[in-house]
Amino acid sequence: MSMPFYVSPEQQMQDRAEFARKGIARGRAVVVLRYAGGIVLVAENRSTTLNKVAEIYDRIAFAAVGRYNEFETLRVAGIRHADLRGYSYDRRDVTGRSLAGAYSQLLGGAFSSAAEKPYEVELIVAELGEEPSGDVLYRISYDGVITDEPDLVVIGGDAERIAEAVRGGFSADAALNDAVDLARRALGTDQLEVAVLERDTPRRRTFRRLRPDEVARD
């Protein structure tokens, strides 16, 4: 009978983190930033049908990088979480914070459980406030660590460099076109999937996908 090698807990966590990080770094990046009219989500995406940004609720959007099957499962779980809460309580009781918290629990649980494979994904939960000061962007990483950012978040491959580039040109009062252009330059591609949470829309659901001709370079 063979004895398993002893691996220290620190080493085990490090290995798992490395495994998840590698998977995520291979993916293309997503940029989420505030602009004058709300929040814009920009993903580098060659597919027009397999989305990386999506609607969760009236004022909440979701963006993800990493393994498609994993974040797709998480997206659907998020919609269920939100719809169930909104149905049992009230639509106003569905908050980005509760959703981000649920994601954090799920990812953190899988990361530290020896029986499960860590998720190879990073997520953004964006919530549009009634006023610009109420906008929140949550970033949830593969190990369940959750941070909230004031103006912009970048996840995926080469995220730090891209974030640096976006931060350099960022203005919370930028027009939508300018915000998309800034993200386009930082991502260095024209194959974009773009959606917005719009503050001024008369619709209850503020999420809207932009058509390719709306995001085309001027």
């Binding site: 969760i56 919609i79 269920r80 719809d83 169930l84 909104g86 149905y87 049992s88």
Partner: protein
């Protein structure tokens, strides 16, 4: 089924599904809903009365709702269940749209409503029935469509007009004589209001055009441009015209037998 909120709810929180115990005394009932097709879509109107036995429970209840961007649902019957059923149906449609990235076909929506009524069947048999009308703009067929239902979830497509609730028979009689499916939106709404007036004339559970209190039927329209609710001022203007004309002819516009 992965994309259905109803199925998910049955698994995780069945106690939140709309239901009441049979034998609950003094249930509030919503009354008459009418709908009609016109050349650019469909319109639906609901009177505002809710009754509790022979008493009037509410004068301004709302029984007609936008189900999503292109469809409208109106429900008659036990009000508590009806309103919850509509709320669940709204979430069901939106949930599917978000999960799948595209909305259900019009027939798909009508079928989901059938499924909900069937799940209420045991209650319906105890006398706690709710009966909806489902109408809207079918984007694929590019025309307005209407469905009526029975308590077992059976759905039936209607082509010119339909009605449900305690005053439905009287309203149908009026619509038969007054409504023309090739007419414009305003005339279609006028026919609906006339039919509710007639329903209120003969059915004690239906309210008509209440000029005294300024409470008028709720009117929603679905066309290629989406769902819109008629403003109160718009309904009031038509209602005043109709009531004024009824002062000289209480039975409404005259037709020709031959």
């Amino acid at each position: 089924m992965d994309s259905s909120f109803l199925d998910y709810l049955r698994q995780v929180a069945p106690e939140t599904l709309p239901a009441v115990d049979a034998g609950t005394p003094n249930l509030v009932h919503g009354t008459t809903i009418v709908a009609a097709r016109y050349r650019d879509g469909v319109v639906m109107a609901g009177d505002r009365r809710a009754t509790m036995g022979t008493a009037i429970a509410m004068r301004d209840i709302e029984k007609v709702f936008g189900a999503d961007d292109h469809s409208i649902v109106g429900v008659a019957g036990v009000a508590g269940i009806a309103v919850e059923l509509v709320r669940l149906f709204q979430v069901e449609l939106e949930h599917f749209e978000k999960v799948e990235g595209s909305s259900l076909s019009f027939d798909g929506k009508a079928n989901r409503l059938s499924a909900m009524l069937r799940s209420n069947l045991s209650q319906a048999l105890k006398g706690l029935a709710v009966l909806p009308l489902f109408v809207g703009w079918d984007e694929r067929a590019a025309r307005g469509r209407m469905f009526s239902y029975d308590a077992t979830g059976g759905r039936y497509e209607e082509h010119a007009f339909c009605s449900v609730g305690s005053g439905a028979a009287f309203a149908r009689g009026a619509l038969k004589k007054l409504h023309d499916p090739d007419t414009d939106e305003r005339s279609a709404v006028a026919a609906l209001l006339q039919s509710l007036y007639d329903a209120a004339d003969d059915d004690s559970a239906t309210s008509g055009l209440d000029l005294t209190r300024g409470i008028f039927p709720l009117v929603l329209r679905a066309s290629a441009a989406g769902v819109a609710r008629w403003s109160e001022a718009g309904v009031r203007e038509l209602a005043e015209t109709i009531v004024a004309a009824r002062a000289t002819r209480p039975d409404g516009p005259r037709g020709y037998a031959l």
